[in-house]
């Protein structure tokens, strides 16, 4: 009997995705492109060669980290929309360490950068967590505001105190830091491709977060505070503290995504480093069922969509920006589909149409 439910749940999510993509097809048509060609290019072109596949995985690493963080926060009853800002604060903290300790050996420098990035992201997430837990400030609004603040702060730091001295010397003034020394770089896995070890770290961290949330008392308590805050309080748990902890962790994980982009892809902090991963990570988390083990494959899928959208832009001249709208539609479809999964009456009715009857207990 349980098997039927699993198949049913998967079918519901897939139907929701299909509906989102169908409405997306209408958007392609409005934007003046052929939807069928657009989807074909978007979904198959990246898989045709090593370049597309590795680029997909390059995008998957930050998506996975942000997504897992979003899952931690959602499961603990707090919505983290602040991924963008947390990525930037993580990246800039990591860059600061990387630039001030350039001579450190690799086995020390990389962990230090990651630690600093985690701290930077955790600070940014923690502000929102603290405001929510102790002052009752809606976390969606505060994280959105903190995104705008982080972007300005980040740009300021790249424009003035942390700017590459060469940019000043040549008078070009592009807001970016100097390149990090080689000891701060993550190894590339395949020669000539950008795929780097960050993906492996991201997978390890996702599994660790799974173990934390589902195999430890701490994780159990965090999930209880998310699912039933009143029951949690009645059982003697300090709900506020777990909310704050969840946001520290979620922010820190997004900060790590910033470090991965910093050390693995760009090797310096530059403008638009977050590249929308903060928002896409939310979609990845929802699509992955707010479960780290679902988020790992989901991040590859959305990595594919993002790379595919870039390729589509060149092939059928629809701006890659449209992927943002498609992701919005996927969010709406996935959250709408939840009713069909959780509402027993609706579920039995639909399954009944397919000739399935609930077993009588």
């Amino acid at each position: 009997m349980k098997k039927t439910y699993v198949i049913y749940n998967i079918a519901v999510v897939l139907v929701a995705l299909l509906i989102a993509l169908l409405i997306g097809a209408a958007l392609f048509a409005v934007a003046g492109g052929n939807p069928i060609t657009a989807y074909k290019v978007m979904l198959t072109e990246p898989l045709r060669g090593a370049f597309g596949v590795t680029e997909t995985l390059v995008r998957a690493a930050p998506l996975m980290l942000v997504g897992v963080g979003v899952a931690v926060s959602f499961r603990s009853g707090i919505l983290n929309i602040g991924g963008e800002g947390q990525i930037l604060m993580g990246a800039v903290s990591g860059a600061f360490i990387g630039l001030s300790l350039p001579g450190l050996p690799k086995f020390l420098l990389v962990p230090l950068i990651f630690l600093a990035a985690f701290a930077g992201g955790a600070l940014w997430g923690g502000i929102a967590g603290w405001l929510r837990a102790y002052l009752g400030v809606n976390e969606i609004l505060s994280t959105v505001m903190l995104n705008y603040i982080a972007i300005q702060l980040y740009t300021y730091l790249l424009r003035a105190p942390l700017i590459d001295p060469q940019e000043l010397a040549y008078g070009t003034g592009i807001p970016q830091t100097a390149q990090l020394t080689r000891n701060a770089w993550l190894e590339r896995l395949i020669p000539g491709m950008r795929l780097h070890t960050g993906l492996i770290y991201a997978i390890i961290i996702a599994v660790l977060v799974y173990l934390l949330l589902w195999k430890t008392t701490l994780g159990y308590r965090m999930r209880v505070c998310g699912a039933e805050p009143l029951a949690a309080r009645y059982a003697g748990m300090n709900v506020s503290r777990y909310l704050l902890l969840a946001m520290l962790l979620a922010g820190g994980l997004a900060g790590l995504a910033g470090a991965v982009e910093l050390c693995g892809v760009h090797r310096r902090a530059l403008e638009a480093l977050s590249a929308g991963y903060g928002f896409s990570g939310i979609v990845v988390a929802l699509f992955g069922g707010l479960h780290p083990l679902g988020i790992i494959p989901a991040s590859a899928l959305f990595g594919l969509l993002i790379v595919g959208a870039d390729m589509m832009q060149r092939a059928v001249t629809i701006p890659a920006h449209i992927i943002l709208a498609i992701q919005g539609l996927i969010i709406l479809a996935v959250v709408s589909s939840a009713l069909f999964i959780t509402h027993r009456g609706i579920r039995e009715k639909i399954l009944g149409r397919f000739g399935w009857k609930e077993e009588v207990h």
Partner: protein, 309 residues
């Protein structure tokens, strides 16, 4: 005379800042009064801004653009209603979906059909020379945009609609005690749909104000968080039209005063100055948390008619 100059300078900068916040904030107030937390307002504003801009660009009829923005906003409100009322999705996350949809779609259409910064005619400011004699504020009031006056007029109108009509009572009932409202024969879903469509239309109009009345052009991300700020102002304004108006006014005056001070010499990195409004919103939210009877108690909660209790 210097004081008069300062007052009119701050006012002239603050009013165009306050009006879009007021428009979207009043709409969001109806949403939230009915228990609907619409975070998609930001995305809906972007759609409204683009549609109004595009129609003015192609047909040179800004008023038609405003109308189209109203309709597009209402359509997005309908979508929000479908997702959150009919499918009972969590409203916070659905709002983010609407936001991304509106942002992605408006940006895409702009890139495809326009491409770069293009000025439009827009709706010109009035020139009411009879108002010039009013002390201090006369020179500002005389050159306001017609939409500014419309927005001011909407404050008492919203108050009347919310507090003095049967429909307003229904909307408030649905947002505080949907079960009781349902028992009395009020269609909870129906009223919530009406409010979310109204809120969407107002957000569309607020976006149109930005492109057609203020900037007289469109740019990606033209709203710069105003939709989210308005949601915060609704909290600050305790869900009343005058409260929202006061919130929008204080917020805009503070930002305008800060810009003016900066303009007159204070040395400060401009990126850090741009942060001030967003910090202000967080402070405002932290200060307006104390519960009172005006808060719609069912805010953000989907209504399950078939469940008891």
């Amino acid at each position: 005379m210097e004081w008069a100059d300062l007052v009119s300078g701050v006012l002239a900068a603050a009013i165009p800042m306050a009006v879009p916040l007021l428009l979207v904030g009043l709409g969001e107030m109806f949403d939230q009064r009915a228990g609907m937390f619409n975070l998609g307002a930001e995305g809906i504003m972007m759609m409204g801004a683009f549609v109004a801009f595009f129609i003015d660009l192609k047909l040179q009829t800004p008023w038609l653009g405003l109308l189209a923005a109203l309709l597009v906003g209402a359509a997005f409100g309908l979508l929000m209603g479908l997702v959150c009322v009919t499918f009972r999705s969590p409203q916070g996350i659905a709002g983010i979906g609407i936001y991304m949809l509106g942002w992605g779609l408006s940006g895409t259409l702009f890139r495809v059909y326009v491409g770069g910064p293009t000025p439009i005619q827009g709706i010109a400011s009035l020139n009411l020379s009879s108002l010039r004699g009013v002390p201090y504020v006369g020179s500002v009031l005389a050159v306001l945009n017609p939409m500014d006056y419309a927005a001011f007029f909407l404050i008492p109108l919203s108050g009347w609609l919310l507090f003095k009509t049967a429909w307003g009572l229904k909307a408030r009932a649905v947002g505080t005690t949907p079960r009781a409202a349902d028992t009395l024969g009020i269609g909870v879903s129906r009223v919530r749909y009406q409010c979310v469509v109204l809120g969407g239309a107002m957000a569309g109009l607020a976006g149109a104000y930005l492109s057609v009345c203020q900037a007289k052009m469109f740019a990606d991300n033209i709203t710069a968080g105003r939709g989210f700020i308005a949601v915060a102002l609704v909290y600050f304004g305790r869900w009343s039209p005058w409260g929202v108006a006061v919130g929008a006014a204080i917020f805009s005056l503070a930002v305008a005063a800060q810009r003016l001070i900066q303009f007159y010499g204070a040395k400060f990195p401009y990126e850090l100055a741009l942060v001030i409004p967003y910090v202000l919103v967080i402070v405002v939210l932290a200060c307006s948390r104390n519960r009172d009877k005006s808060e719609p108690t069912a805010l953000g909660k989907p209504y399950y008619r078939e469940y008891r209790g």
